[in-house]
Subunit: 552 residues, 2 copies
């Protein structure tokens, strides 16, 4: 064992100290971002930063010819746990596969001192190896790197072990001779928030399965644990329903090439499970449903122009029994296809103009005594829908309007706050009413600008609203949303990463992890690691990676 | 020959007619863009739109087993013209290679009527096959598609033939049975502006050669004919100079992996030449030179803090003879490495604070009688630099500040207008002074926003400034600039395309080609073609391509 002084080199980041005078343009959107220049962080390239981490100056070597990741003898998950065995292979490949990785945190060349094994020890009797992650999953882990000669990763469940493997891989770096090295390290880690999600939208553009899987992989690197699959919307209905195949047959952009078959969906769910990621599908109604109407006649409300149907359609028709019969069958299928305990039911942005134009709806409003208050009609619909979904034994998430409109919600409902103005007040109201909530309002990643906007996302404090401790406990996390108007397979991945990484750290790390300079340094290295693992994560600012992206 | 009615199908574009209600956010930047929905254009997927084009409803088939692109007997460029032979292979591959292409403009299935040959006829005695394109190159061509049975592409020079081949390939589509088809067509085409450029910045991030070549390829598809290579700047000096190898040895991000060797540069230039593209290198001085100073001691001005050097450096030191000796040797090399008749000398954004701090500079100012007017010192430097470059027999381009500061310029100088505010007034002033000019101010593609910003670029009219006809003739074109602060190999290509395509059409097509809806329709199809040819050109808005991008 050789004690060394950490020699932190600027290998991954080549920034000039001199001021950069950039060409400007008059309509340049001035931002408040701090201009930071890369320095090595004492935490190297760790991202998101673990809750407790001690890295000493003692360094060891790792050899691809001898290093092994193995189940600890005492572990409750052994060779039969393919989730872990798959993860071992994956992380071995990340650490030794390309032989190209370099990291910031570099020790001097040491002697023969070597870490030959990482022992993975699942401590709880039920490892949950064959289960699905949930909002209450234990994701904690402890990692101890010494040359005893075993490094040890302890976790109550496989979910924590997966995170620990990622963290271990982030600790490995190459010294100045290219030798794989790791410093003596002690980490105790767990997430600050249980729900750390990314919303992808496969309706405005179809995303090939390959793109979804690649991004699930990157989510795991960032300890993101929820894939919110906004699978259908107005523009297209790519979900191939066994019960109602006409929905995608008529509603997809193309019924054979631009659909997600049951096998596709199953693959996405299993790929995600193996990485500790929940798949929460969203089937948004009664608005955002234009594409549903193509394959399901009479589902949508016919709009009227004067006394005649105009030929266009509005939201789901809430006054027909057939609507609820359809929803019952449809969500029965959804509840079996998607194993997660929650389904997202949408409920946002319902446009009342079509309902108002329709004489049958008007008559119904009168019968029900709703007057001219179409929010009551919306609530009428949602209430019936929630009752239907409740019979499938699923919990539900809904966009904030459903709460705002006073719909009666089950106590375990998750209210999703997304409207940019007044989101703090909304968080106060939702939690004051006793509902669990997640935050997306400040994290709409579809909005882009000429700036280091990751800093804006990073600086968000989800609990900054006015409320009691009890209220704050109801905030279970948040989601970065990448809506699809301007995003498809050509540009999704670089636009998502590393911008979503900023959200990932905010939701994982301790509240006081707010040093923007340290974050810049670690995130720069983390993004180069994503590039090195084959993902086109875009740069934060000028500079370079040791190995630039190899694609076009 | 079968006369058919054109059946224009919405195959490449699947837009809903219903309104899209999108989630909004309070700080959403409202834009003025027209929301357009895809309809097939009567011009199919042609981009940029040719000057004169007639497409009839008569359609022919093309068979990959019999179709040939051949030199016309009368052509002045035959089998020995490898530029054309290479282009024939390239375009045959685009048309028949993947067997996947589909286009908007579809004729009904016809009979055996077939186009079996495209004859390429270079009409001028000197085809310029082995030359380099220049600002005065003849790029015109005429294309006649009939089943006589030969389609004919006539062009005075190879440059027009290259454009004509691209246009021909854009006319080919698949009918509803997948059969390659083309309609009877007559096109007479030439560019509105001679200088149609794209600036890429390889200093703020290093761009691997592969990325540069891929984008040169796409430039050719868009009839862009100038690659403005902003090769060095403050952050790094990747140009490997034979004369001064220390410049990149010390000034590149990494001296072996992040440099352009003489062989690389030669390859870029030849790859560009074969596609009719000029390579205009920019070596910007006296500002933007931090990276130069690392490998060339005493080139930059030492800044002072009080009476002592602060250890930092400012712009090129204009008071030393060694500076001009260096520039003489350096630009002598540049003049031989880069065959283009022009070199871009920069001259923008010179910060005077360091010069002001330096006692030797102050003394020199006094000796020269410059008073406190550091613009005079800047002009002193630039004047000497221009004289040096003139001896290399090169013309020069400069950023507008050099003109603004009253430096004496050669009559053939190209003044590059880039400052966003007041660019119309600047265009008036520059042309009133009799200088040739190109416009970039409205086309800074590094600035991004949540919008269809291609429309903003498209709506620019470069001759909208106040001036005489003679003044307007001095505007030889423009350039789209993609500065590199936030752009590297991971995101450059989707960010550049199809946004730069909007600029490409503005600079090529007739002044009255301004129908934004028709442009949307053609550009949507053009971008799907770029995707089909393997380039991740990003979407304009929601919708789909028949074959989505296959990369990650």
């Amino acid at each position: 064992m050789i004690t060394t002084t950490l020699t932190l080199l600027l290998l991954s980041l080549g920034f000039c100290k001199g001021g950069l005078q950039e060409n400007y343009i008059d309509d340049f959107e001035e931002t408040e971002e701090v201009e930071v220049f890369a320095q090595p962080s004492k935490y190297g390239s760790l991202w998101p930063l673990p809750q407790k981490v001690q890295i000493s100056e003692v360094s060891f070597k790792l050899s691809s010819s001898s290093f092994k990741i193995v189940d600890a003898k005492q572990s409750s998950a052994g060779a039969s746990c393919s989730l872990l065995q798959d993860a071992y292979r994956r992380y071995f490949e990340y650490m030794f596969g390309s032989g190209k990785r370099q990291q910031l945190n570099k020790g001097r060349r040491g002697g023969p001192s070597e870490v030959t094994e990482l022992q993975v020890w699942i401590t709880s009797p039920d490892s949950e190896c064959d289960g699905y992650p949930s909002v209450s999953s234990d994701e904690s882990y402890e990692l101890t790197v010494t040359d005893q000669p075993y490094a040890v990763l302890k976790a109550p469940k496989v979910w924590g072990a997966l995170h620990g493997l990622e963290t271990f891989s982030q600790l490995v770096y190459e010294d100045q001779y290219g030798a794989k090295s790791i410093n003596s390290t002690s980490i105790n880690d767990f997430p600050r928030f249980a729900h750390r999600g990314i919303l992808l939208d496969t309706s405005r553009h179809f995303l090939p399965i390959k793109v979804i899987l690649a991004n699930l992989e990157v989510m795991a690197w960032n300890k993101i644990n929820v894939f919110h699959w906004h699978i259908v919307d107005d523009p297209s209905f790519p979900y191939l329903s066994r019960t109602f195949p006409q929905l995608s047959q008529k509603g997809a952009f193309q019924p054979y090439t631009h659909v997600y078959t049951p096998a596709d969906v199953k693959m996405v769910i299993e790929f995600a499970r193996l990485r500790g990621i929940r798949v929460v599908p969203e089937f948004d109604t009664p608005g955002h449903t234009q594409s549903w109407g193509k394959g399901q006649p009479d589902l949508l409300t016919p709009c009227y122009s004067g006394s005649k149907p105009s030929g266009t359609f509005g939201p789901v028709n809430p006054i027909l029994n057939t609507t609820y019969e359809f929803m019952t069958q449809f969500f029965k299928e959804i509840s079996t296809v998607f194993p997660d305990a929650y389904v997202h039911l949408g409920g946002d942005e319902v446009d009342f103009s079509c309902w108002k134009s329709n004489p049958d709806i008007q008559k119904f409003m009168e019968q029900q005594g709703f007057g001219q208050d179409y929010k009551k009609l919306e609530s009428f619909y949602i209430q019936k829908l929630l009752d239907i979904v409740t019979t499938t034994k699923k919990g539900y998430m809904i966009w904030q309007e459903v709460f705002d409109n006073g719909v009666k919600l089950k106590p375990d409902t998750v209210v999703h706050v997304w409207i940019g103005g007044g989101s703090n007040e909304e968080m106060s109201r939702v939690t004051d009413a006793g509902y669990t909530t997640i935050l997306s309002a400040p994290w709409y990643l579809d909005y882009i600008s000429y700036a280091q906007d990751w800093q804006k996302y990073y600086k968000v404090e989800p609990l900054s609203f006015n409320g009691t401790e009890a209220q704050k406990k109801l905030v279970i996390g948040g989601e970065a949303c990448l809506w699809g108007e301007y995003v498809d397979a050509t540009n999704l991945t670089p636009r998502l990463w590393p911008r979503a990484s900023a959200v990932a750290e905010r939701l994982w790390s301790a509240k006081d992890v707010t040093d923007i300079n340290d974050a810049y340094n670690r995130l720069s290295a983390h993004r180069c690691r994503m590039v090195d693992r084959g993902i086109p994560a875009q740069p934060l600012f000028y500079g370079f990676c040791p190995h630039e992206y190899k694609g076009i």
